[in-house]
Symmetry: C2
Subunit: 162 residues, 2 copies
DNA sequence: ATATGCAGTTGCATAATAAAACCAAATTCG
DNA sequence: CGAATTTGGTTTTATTATGCAACTGCATAT
């Protein structure tokens, strides 16, 4: 549950989580990537309460991640489709999925494989790389604070302050 | 209320979110990656309520993402450091950050840049790639349901069922 | 015309979070 | 060294998000 909003924070991670950080959001996006389009698809797949699903879907539409419109196949019902913004969350979904496969897989194995469509093979691990495409060690990845943001002080006491 | 748990789901994304899906978890992990180690670091940086921080830190320790132990510098206080499991969440953090930079950046720009340490340059976009290292179109990424998992029915009515 | 399914909405109960006060141990200051 | 402050919490109280069940209005099926 949350009362506190991240929307005033300058950090891009916080600002992203403002939109996709609530309990069900990323699972809804996952289902949308797997082809779910209608209210009942999400509801059946997730077992989420209907009012909660209504809220989450509306939030995602407001965030521009899903678009709501009349069904493509002529049905009178509305459907929810990912926008480009939404589709570009794929790296997040892939990273979560691959981490889960490695560290917290279900006893029966994962339910879904992320693949290269053309070959049907499993997608290589999504991972930070240099411009050349060469994968990096995590220790080679840095985080630099910008000048336009207030500096952070991780010191433990006065004497630590060089 | 009893918030539904994802831990019984077979999907790796859901199982991962069980550990890092709550409101503050990923921001705590972000701070840990940026060098935060002590309770007060997280508390000051996030403005999170102390009891909530206590809960989130304990959950992350239970999940094996953070390890709690005596401080390295001799201080009697405990400190929280990322385990390998935790460090391997870097792709998730990077993907969230880069999505935010592109789609929901703050007016003053992002507060933090993710970089290649050696060169100081901005890290290339984390993105699905083939074995060769070549970046893919999102439309080339597939999701295949495993046989050990119950199939999903996205059909809209009886007639749709081939 | 009646029944069933869909996509919600509403009301109530409860769990998760926040805010504030409180506290023991550790650390810093005088 | 002793007092004051900081740290890392815990407890209490209040608020908000979620779950569950029932209800509604519309469209489709029988």
């Amino acid at each position: 549950m949350r009362t506190k909003s991240f929307s005033t924070m300058q950090c891009s991670i916080a600002r992203t989580l403002e939109h996709v950080g609530s309990w069900w959001s990323l699972l809804i996006i996952r289902d949308a990537m797997m082809g779910a389009r209608r209210f009942k698809h999400f509801q059946r797949s997730l077992g989420i309460a209907r009012n909660t699903l209504t809220n989450r879907l509306n939030d995602l539409v407001d965030a521009g991640i899903l678009a709501k419109g009349p069904a493509a196949n002529g049905s009178k019902h509305e459907e929810y489709v990912l926008t480009e913004r939404g589709r570009e969350l794929a790296p997040v979904i892939i990273a979560l999925s691959q981490w889960g496969d490695k560290w917290v897989a279900h006893d029966n194995g994962p339910s879904t494989e992320i693949t290269v469509k053309a070959t049907g093979e499993r997608l290589p691990r999504i991972w930070p790389r240099r411009e050349t495409g060469e994968p990096m060690q995590l220790s080679e990845v840095g985080m630099r604070r910008n000048e336009n943001a207030p500096p952070i002080d991780w010191s433990n006491s006065e004497e630590d302050k060089s």
